[in-house]
Point group: C2
Chain length 664, copies 2
């Protein structure tokens, strides 16, 4: 067996979570995360019972200090120098690793007791559990210090430019949004080299108001390599008498080495460009975890990650990334506040656990995170008001969306999320054979009836119980959660979703849900139309990745501003990538029927003009769908499924192409 690094369950995830969450900068100022992070346990005990075939030298190394105890010796090994030689036979080895600054982990070589999944570990809570490993076979590379790989990227253009503050210098354009750090070569002279980053040209040329800049102390060597990855497309470097000169500026781009498992091309070139840009946006924000945005916050927000999860399930199908993000968000401390400090976000995490299971059938993960999900759920329930409803407590953050509406009191959207979380917990319990599941499912139904009775106005669900005007949020959720009747859904479509007098949605974030709801209600045509105008609008503004917020009405310098800052807006934001999901789920029309894509349903949207060729992940296999004039072809490599088309159903056998001639 090959030895590999081992650590205590989930601790590598917590360690990376801490590292990633502390990389946010404004200019070069560190900005601390505004919620509590699960701390890495500095002391871990590792143990293994094993049998040696012959006398064996066992080599032990650790990230941290290590103390070793062998068999029934009543004390630790004195003067332990990295190895111990044991005779053939049964043994037990205990290794205590201490590292207050990084992940305590262990690497043991020696035939018969190699470090790997056979070891157990204990972080001091009295419970020995199987330790975790993940294919880190190089003893010289500690898992927690492994970073994402980098590749060299050259600018596509470089020109002299004048910055807004009067300085003149060189403007480098890398042609697309990057997550990278500069490499400067051929340095002559020494001193401080200021560098200004911009997601837009405007930002790069405004060193005073830009969000990110650096001052590099160069000159000791002809090459200077920065060390913290930042988000930009442009870099401006002023030139002048006191500034060292240099030969070239390129970048090390940090990339996430995962390949998409989806393909999508259509007869509509704009749609193709939107899909590619969305896919690229998701690729950029998929890193150690799903990040919200690259320029800021570079944080793991649950609202953003639930959408990233769905997008990934239609493209990269990156199960490990989804699991890691959920484990990080669930954390390990006693819940004292909502996930990310936001009420809705607690519910999104619980929902996200269940959605992950729906698409992957990964029962073991549900088993692992159910106790923590239940704790979170109980925390939420402990904060319901006398009415059994969720309601803002003190100055708690209720988000829903960046928009101008009341978040005080009993919001309908929050109650629906509570309902959805109750359903998810009930479903996990049913899956795991936990007796409370059935009662919880009834509880969810009672809650549903109560919410319906309290908020349904006859013309959609009310925003809250305080009489504020109807908003879209709860109505969108009602459709997506299967919360309301078909008759109610029809009213919602007409009176709310297609009603221009209801407060409009401006963020790509809530657009994700709005487009989904439209498509669920049979208006994929409308969804396509909006995708082309809204996301197409960003492309027309020069976007190479999709934005945090976009209002087609706002033009000029204003379009980059947010949070009272000229360039506060993130131009590469995960929640902007929803076309990846929307086109997969509602144009191609694929979704799992039985959990984990044991079977699938396909409901393609065939409009007689948007022809497409797509391949989407479906568990281990994929489903290929080709729509050409007069023909629909479906091929599923692994799972059988059903094709639903105009009220008819067709059975799709796995591994066998299905073709249907279409009128038109």
């Amino acid at each position: 067996m090959r030895s590999q690094w081992i650590w205590h369950k989930n601790e590598l995830t917590y360690c990376l979570y801490n590292k990633v969450m502390n990389r946010r900068r404004e200019k070069n100022v560190k900005v601390l995360c505004c919620w509590q992070l699960p701390q890495v346990c500095p002391s871990v005990k590792f143990m293994r019972y094993f049998e040696l075939a012959k006398t064996t030298e066992i080599r032990i190394r650790a990230n941290g200090t290590v103390s070793v105890r062998v068999d029934d010796c009543p004390h630790y090994m004195y003067d332990f120098a990295g190895s111990v030689t044991l005779p053939a036979g049964r043994h037990v080895l205990l290794a205590e690793v201490y590292n207050p600054a990084d992940l305590p982990c262990l690497f043991v070589e020696g035939e018969g007791c190699e470090s790997g999944a056979e070891w157990i570990s204990n972080c001091g809570n009295g419970k020995w559990i199987p330790c975790e490993c993940g294919g880190f076979y190089d003893p010289a590379r500690v898992p927690s210090c492994c970073t994402l790989p980098v590749r060299r990227v050259q600018p596509v253009a470089c020109a002299r430019a004048e910055a807004k503050n009067g300085s003149s210098g060189l403007l480098y354009d890398f042609g697309r949004e990057l997550f990278a750090y500069p490499v400067i070569e051929g340095i002559r002279g020494s001193g401080e080299l200021p560098v200004n980053y911009g997601e837009s040209e405007d930002e790069a040329l405004d060193p005073v108001h830009s969000e990110l800049s650096d001052t590099f102390p160069v000159g000791d060597s002809p090459v200077y390599t920065a060390n913290l990855t930042k988000a930009f497309r442009y870099i401006f470097v002023p030139q002048g008498e006191n500034i060292p000169s240099f030969g070239s500026l390129s970048c090390n781009e940090e990339y996430y080495p995962v390949r998409t498992r989806a393909k999508f091309t259509s007869s509509d070139e704009l749609l193709n460009k939107i899909y590619k840009t969305a896919e690229y946006t998701l690729e950029l924000t998929s890193r150690e975890f799903f990040l919200d945005g690259l320029k800021r916050d570079r944080w793991v927000w649950a609202g953003d990650t639930l959408q990233s999860e769905w997008m990934s399930l239609y493209s990269f199908f990156d199960c490990a990334l989804i699991r890691n993000t959920l484990v990080a968000l669930l954390g390990k401390d006693k819940f004292e506040q909502h996930i990310n400090g936001i009420m809705d976000y607690s519910f999104y995490v619980i929902w996200g656990v269940w959605e992950y299971y729906r698409y992957t059938g990964d029962r073991r993960f549900v088993e692992e995170v159910y106790p923590r999900s239940l704790e979170l759920y109980n925390f939420c329930k402990s904060r319901t008001n006398a009415n059994g409803f969720m309601q803002k407590i003190n100055n708690e953050w209720v988000f829903i969306d960046w928009a101008d509406f009341s978040t005080d009191g009993e919001l309908c959207a929050e109650q629906m999320l509570l309902y959805k979380a109750t359903c998810a917990i009930a479903a996990m319990e049913e899956l795991l054979g936990i007796a409370t599941g059935a009662g919880r499912a009834r509880e969810a139904e009672t809650l549903r009836e109560k919410i319906d009775k309290t908020f349904w106005t006859g013309e959609g669900y009310a925003h809250d119980t305080a009489g504020h005007p109807v908003t879209r949020y709860a109505n969108i959720f009602a459709v997506l959660m299967g919360f309301c009747s078909q008759a109610q859904a029809k009213i919602i479509l007409e009176k709310v979703l297609l009603n221009d007098s209801v407060l409009k949605i401006k963020t790509p974030y809530m657009k994700f849900y709005e487009m989904s709801a439209l498509a669920e209600l049979g208006r994929a045509d409308k969804m396509l139309e909006i995708i082309k105008s809204y996301w197409g609008g960003m492309l027309a503004e020069g976007a190479t990745s999709f934005w945090e917020e976009y209002d087609p009405a706002v033009k000029g310098a204003e379009r980059y501003a947010m949070y009272g800052r000229l360039f506060g807006k993130s131009l590469c934001h995960s929640w902007g990538a929803s076309p990846v999901y929307l086109l997969g789920r509602y144009l191609v029309g694929l979704r799992p029927e039985q959990d984990g894509y044991k079977t699938f349903v396909l409901r393609p949207f065939l409009d007689g003009k948007t022809y497409f060729e797509a391949e989407l992940p479906a568990g281990e296999g994929s489903v290929q769908v080709t729509y050409r004039k007069g023909l629909l072809r479906v091929y599923s490599s692994a799972a059988p499924g059903r094709l639903e088309l105009e009220g008819k159903e067709f059975f799709i056998e796995a591994g066998k192409a299905f073709e249907l001639c279409l009128k038109d």
Copy 2:
């Protein structure tokens, strides 16, 4: 106002707790703590609203990186270089401090916004609370890096000696147990200098089996100073060809700078020596926290610390140390195991909180730790069996004492501790005006009746429900907790405590409770007799501090052995210091009547031969008691009280000497 270091509530305590708990060594091998420690939060936000009288330069320094935000500026201060100048008027300042390796803390200078108790802080859990400070006024000395002071100590003797392993060298005797590290001067030559420590001469002269040794790399300088404090009275340094020679060896003794508030001398010289040695033992084990023993474990065990707490309340009256120890033990993580992993120890912590209040009247502290105490209590309750009793789960540790008895099933002693904890929680709730208090007090009484019914045999309380022979533990607790009737107590005294056929107690730990019970039952004479024979026995063995375990029957080399190791026994163990408590509470006879010594009761034991002169702390003031032939004199500096003597009561006015002529 003077600026001082500030930090987030309790975090300095957690930081020191981690540092202290990771100093345990065997030889020079690190031994990790076997329970989970509360981790220091690496990210803390500090904030203050303030008003400046004039334009002021505000200087900000932090232990860690700091980011600063001022007033309504929508971003952090770029290029912050340690200070910001603000005009007169109202302001708000936010400083985010990040330190993943040590305590994040802050020091702010500038008239009107000095760092101090006016600041609030937030560790990311969404709650702003008043920050903590503790008189650290020196900006150059970060609180978490402050260590206890040291003083130079010279050996009282040095002689040539032969060690057991055949090496010959120098044996230094420091005359008493020390917590110190060597300073070696006048070094000639360079290389490795082995040093072997011993609490006993035997241990120092057995470098192979001793518990602590070091190998110092000397020679770069003529002076070498070690850096980790260890426990010893003797040091043996071998001499030989390959070993560097040196001029002198002395020690830096780390000491805890607190003075006793008690005085005790008696007409019995042995008793005086026992008292002094006990007081010295407690002084040595009182450090950043109450430690169990100096050689090992150097850990904070709740069973040991409850006794240290009581002892301190009769000597040093060190409220801060008691509070810090309780806060560290209560921790902040979700309870997944008992305190220290031991069932009884959870109950001792809850009991300890209430005892602290009884002696100090510190309501604010109860308010602070009640939520955490309740969580711990609820954790215990969640582990009761179908019968409502505590019972070992899996391989959980049930300690009670180092002795040979069954700890499986329903032990009477554990149920009594559960009862006591229920009473303590009920009392805290009554004190804080929490409505559940009264119900909880009734619950405690119901539990008491049930325990009494289940375990009372007519000849004492049974050890368990499994029919094992009666042991002393539960019976001792019954007396100390006021659990049983006077008639039952009488039976316990005769049939259990004074019955030599009942399993004897060998640890000073359980002797603490046994002696207390004897004295409570009117047998202070017996208590005195045992103190003199048992603790006197250790003195006769050459003890300069009291031991972890002592069996008068064991002689020779065996007396230092424990845990299967020749010198495993700790010869300076906190629980050995109980005479400090026993003599104060049962010979002098002082205890609080109203909480916090608003009034006291004095029940001196006057045997007509053990005359004494004592002064004991009683809240802010003290109570002096002088017992001479024919005379008892009492003077209380602050609190009024009652003297109880032979069924009579005398009122003692504060600030006024009271004298009573005695027959005999």
